[in-house]
Symmetry: C2
Subunit: 409 residues, 2 copies
């Protein structure tokens, strides 16, 4: 038994989260793609069966009240809230991440535009017309950029793609809104949310963050750091299932000014009044749109039960230990020069994944998957491995690196 294998055993034995793994359906595969689709929590199938057979099949229409379907978007939002450092009443679940990016950006432009924007709310906006730019993270997952382009077009703003590092220099009194991704989906680089948010606010602009690759993997601190609006998916580290609904965070102080471009009947102050004129609901409910997709949403609700009693700080500590250990094992097992990590070494700059540049990455990932190590390939040359602390252990990490070494030899 190698020294690394022994170490892995010791690390697993000391892991305070080791017990959580039992709450997932896992097999002999080393699953390092939970940053793309989280594994199935063991309680989900039974819960979904109840939703389908009893709530839909037997109670039918009555379930909108009796099974709590109608209030699911805000109830599940409140369940996600502590994982991203938000007090209750600021998150609603529903729609895809792309649709939520659109809501957030258009609403943010309107906030930046509205006269008398309150500095105390972190948005010391000038009167509207001067703020004609939206800055967007040029390294973000592409959909954010596409949607930002549409939001800019439809609000008459100019879209300016910049890297997160360039944001402080690009901010000016022309900046209306800045959309940033907390963790780079390709490299795994963690951006400095507190200081970037502060810089955006100092320029009088609105800060919108995409948390797809950070929520559930590390502390986000939305309230603490004064983030204005945030969106995220729930099928990665939150294990909500394929295409489970995304969420939208609207900081409490800004909710009265949240003017949605998608004012569906679910965001009306009196949805069953069936009134011809729109009047927005109070609070985060303004982020709702149409009828929520109950099956996907309630699967997510069940999936979130695995977080009961889990401290996000413990998740972060284990995540860093896992990625540290993986890099160490890769150095030990993989022939020199065959891969190069593009993930930052500094903990403060690292999310919960490791991305390795490799010339024949597409082919290498195929062979890894054949041998029971599942990561993913990102065009053109990146092997991407996600480490989900709730169910990945250190022995998995050592095995993945060993198999990678064998494949590359």
């Amino acid at each position: 038994m190698s020294e690394l294998t022994t170490r892995a055993g010791a690390l697993d034995a000391a892991d305070e989260l080791a017990g959580v793994r039992k709450q997932f359906v896992l097999d002999e595969v080393v699953y390092l793609d939970g940053n793309s689709l989280g594994a199935l929590p063991a309680n989900v199938p039974g819960h979904v069966e109840d939703v389908v057979r009893r709530q839909w099949g037997e109670l039918r229409i009555r379930s909108w009240d009796e099974s709590g379907w109608w209030t699911a978007p805000e109830r599940i939002g409140d369940r996600i809230a502590p994982l991203v450092g938000a007090a209750p009443g600021q998150i609603v679940v529903g729609d895809s991440t792309s649709v939520n990016v659109f809501k957030a950006l258009v609403a943010a432009v309107r906030m930046a535009d509205s006269a008398g924007a309150a500095g105390s709310a972190g948005v010391a906006g000038s009167a509207g017309s001067g703020r004609d730019e939206i800055l967007v993270d040029a390294t973000t997952f592409p959909t954010d950029g596409y949607i930002a382009e549409s939001a800019a077009r439809m609000t008459g703003r100019t879209l300016r793609p910049v890297t997160p590092a360039e944001v402080p220099g690009a901010l000016s009194d022309r900046t209306a809104v800045v959309l940033l991704n907390h963790v780079d989906y390709r490299t795994g680089r963690l951006h400095d949310l507190p200081s970037l948010t502060a810089a955006v606010h100092a320029a009088g602009a609105v800060a919108v963050w995409d948390l797809c690759h950070s929520a559930g993997a590390l502390p986000v601190g939305l309230d603490e750091h004064g983030v204005d609006l945030a969106v995220g998916c729930t099928y990665k580290y939150l294990n909500g299932g394929p295409g489970s609904p995304a969420y939208l965070y609207v900081r409490r102080e800004l909710q009265d000014r949240f003017d949605s471009p998608l004012p569906g009947w679910n965001s009306h102050a009196e949805p069953f009044g069936m009134r011809p004129a729109f009047e927005p609901a109070a609070g985060a409910l303004r982020g709702r749109v149409g009828t929520p997709d109950i099956l996907s949403m309630l699967a997510l609700e069940a999936a979130l039960e695995v977080w009961d009693g889990v401290r996000i700080e413990a998740v972060r500590a284990k995540s860093l230990a896992l990625t540290d250990f993986f890099l160490e094992c890769v150095a030990a097992y993989v022939p020199e020069g065959r891969v190069e990590s593009v993930t930052p070494v500094a903990h403060s700059e690292r999310g919960s994944q490791v991305a390795l540049r490799c010339d024949d990455a597409g082919d290498v990932m195929k062979r890894l998957i054949e041998r029971g190590v599942v990561g993913d390939f990102r065009h053109p040359d990146v092997l991407r491995f996600g480490f989900t602390p709730l169910y990945v252990g250190f022995a998995d990490v050592a095995r993945a690196a060993r198999v990678l070494g064998e494949v590359l030899r």
Copy 2:
């Protein structure tokens, strides 16, 4: 046994769709709310269990390819297509009805605006700037009006609510787009889609139809009647389950000009190219946005299997027979003057529901539900009964009217 009960028995015995009822999970309740939430098809629970336990739980990320998740929106769109009279390749499933109304309206305004709009495609548009009005059905389900208001605001158009009957007189060379509901959700009135669409086209405008209350209940004929864009939900007569994803139809000839306000990565020509610049996919795929909600979507796919071998013309014939018979039973069982039907008598103007005005409708519906007859109440004074020909029989109809009579006596 009364004469009506005898008639009901004979009608049920002669019903060519009677056998379809076995494919649903039903109980002793008379369920006349399938126009709000369709009953559970019996094959759905097993299918959803497979999606959760095997596709997600065992195959995990591989299911995007191996279980056909990625192509589900267009595959299921093609399954809906024959039910609304559309050839394949024109419908994608995903997002809520509200979100699809937004996509359709904004894209329609852009079509109306684009120079050289082709008369042959049914959209003989003038150059853009003159067409500054969106007409919206003032009697439509409120969310369509709210979203139309937002679409008008964001495209710089004026929104003008008119009743469907007023549409021909309201059309002019200022009209860019007309959004109409095929069946009035409150009264059950069926609007004349062929002639209204022709009138909209004659004025050079784009016709957008909401099919929520008609798809699955009667023939729609989207292709035949030259409808430009259409949206609809799938949880009413299509029995897709609570909040199951909606769909968007884009007429083939217009697809190249469909310029979406929600250009998410799923509508990119090369979604996994992760390119910074957006380039729209060909065809109906342009209507996709973000990652589809797979659980809800695949439940819908299973639910659509009940349509195998069912002719929509037979559904329509039975629907009219059911509503005729219900009105006849109501006349026989309900004390004179206690209710008044607001649903048109003429078959050509009737959807698949009957709406009865009743002073104490809210209280009456509560008592009906307590006695096993489920319809719904629409503010302020409407008892609404939906007739889903796939699983409602004539004996159900007679019983519902009899119980209504008892409650009102």
